[in-house]
Amino acid sequence: MGATAEIIVFYILAAVITVSSILAVTSRKMLRAATFLLVVLLCTAGLYLLLNYHFLAVVQLSVYAGGILILFIFAILLTSSKGDRSESHDRRRRIAAFAAALAGAVITIVATAKHKVLYGDNATILGDNEIPMKQIGHALIGDGKYEYLLSFEALSILLLACIIGGILIARKR
């Protein structure tokens, strides 16, 4: 894809992400907020696709859109009743939220300003440079340098603990 086309797609995605993120935190209805969050996550997957990170884009889709968001929606459907609206925030909360947002913006701007932006003239990003699935798999299950067997196994133990905890809570006898 040409560089200009990529930049146009990037700006469309960025605009959708910004608008939906703001809507996600300002919406009074829980389920609407969750839906806008879903749009944000989908557009983030689009950004990964733009960077030729196909694997990460698909993981983003399947884990967030297919897993976590459905969990959120289920939890909202089971706990809140129709017409529930979140109460408006008090002043202290608003100030804290503004401070947090400002701090995040400052960190991002400083980080982008301090580093050279490679996007646009980096040969490994533009073009059809896909990382093969096999290489990712070997990196995840390898025990050499820059390979992640230990964290992979630690995460699976964590998930196992979660499953056992869930069963314990669900089967109170």
Partner: protein, 354 residues
């Protein structure tokens, strides 16, 4: 064997000779999008007609026979009718989510549809992680169904959506595990490569017993994912009027209806691609003359023939078995189907190593 890439290359070259690179690319994107949408709509019309006819024969009726010869234009007439219908506004419903839900369902379905290799050289989205992409994108439909059930503000739709969510999430696991079995055999997730590897023998023959078991479990799990057949509790008409899309009318209902039929097609097409060789003709090693005759049949006919066979199996099951209860359905998945899939995965690994 004639390849569609000759046609697509010709379009590509002639576009580039007329206009600049950027515009040619834009026109190509639009062309592909229009082609996919048209194919989606036409296939849906064909499938609705086929389902009505097959259902009629199973019930010893004739089925649609008034519009055109043998009623072949019946679904076209139905389409015009559904386009002209009123969109009824529901009081006290969340209007925004109510409208958005239908789009989530159909977008998930179209994204999956675009990644299917229809014929030699006719393949729109070909990722390195193709199989993973298929399972990931198809899960978007669940969100749409849950939102539709909640936002219509009705008990029936809510119960339907909850059942559907539980069912889809459960059966996705079995469907994914069955596809993984074939990924172990082929060593790649790219759909074009998977089809390419089946040139000599389809995976269902090459993979031995584990591949056959995976094919059967995939058909069952996929059938359950489309909310059809004995697994249609989410829209059980005797209990829930129409389940999660009770309150929808006009073309918004049409979206759900379209997505349901196309999901049946997509499941059959994925089964064809992964197990029955995609567009590859039937080759038997050693029978040179036979193989050459099979090569003369175009790849599109092979693909659609095999897919129609899988769809016919699904229709056959749908009109032959009574509906299960929701608890039977879920315990079938978690206690029977998923353990079989996991054991089958190990079997396939042993088969590949040996």
């Amino acid at each position: 064997m004639w390849s569609f890439s000759q046609l697509t290359d010709w379009i590509d070259r002639s576009l580039h000779s007329v206009m600049g690179d950027g515009w040619a690319l834009t026109v190509e994107f639009i062309l592909i999008g229009v082609a996919i949408l048209v194919a989606y709509a036409v296939l849906a019309l064909f499938l609705i007609y086929a389902e009505r006819k097959i259902c009629a024969f199973f019930q010893c009726r004739i089925g649609p026979n008034r519009v055109g010869k043998w009623g072949i234009f019946q679904s076209v007439a139905d389409m015009i009718k559904i386009l002209l219908k009123e969109l009824i506004r529901i009081d006290n419903s969340d209007k925004f989510l109510f409208r958005a839900a239908a789009f989530f369902v159909i977008i998930g379905s179209i994204c999956t549809f675009g990644a299917i290799p229809f014929a030699k050289g006719l393949h729109a989205i070909d990722f390195n992680v193709g199989v993973f992409y298929l399972t990931a994108v198809s899960s978007l439909g669940v969100v749409g169904i849950l939102l539709a059930g909640w936002s219509s503000n009705s008990k029936y739709t809510m119960i339907g959506a909850m059942r559907s969510g539980a069912q889809l999430i459960s059966y996705e696991i079995s469907a994914g595990l069955s596809l993984m079995t074939i990924v172990i055999l082929s060593g790649t997730m790219q759909l074009s490569e998977i089809v390419e590897q089946q040139g000599q023998a389809w995976f269902i023959f090459k993979g031995g017993l584990p591949a056959v078991i995976a094919f059967i479990t995939y058909l069952i799990a996929g059938h359950a994912e489309t909310n059809r057949g004995p697994f249609d509790q989410p829209e059980a008409e005797s209990e829930l009027t129409a389940g999660y899309h009770t309150e929808y009318s006009g073309i918004q209902f049409g979206f759900f209806y379209l997505a349901e039929y196309l999901n049946a097609f997509i499941i059959a097409a994925i089964a064809t691609t992964m197990f029955l060789g995609g567009w590859q003709p039937l080759h038997i090693p050693g029978w040179e003359g036979f193989n050459r005759i099979m090569d003369y049949i175009p790849s599109v006919i092979w693909f659609f023939g095999k897919t129609c066979f899988c769809i016919f199996l699904a229709f056959w099951v749908r009109w032959s078995f009574p509906r299960l209860r929701i608890d039977q359905l879920l315990s079938f998945e978690w206690k029977i189907l998923m353990p079989i899939c996991l054991i089958n995965l190990i079997l396939m690994s042993v088969y590949v190593i040996l």
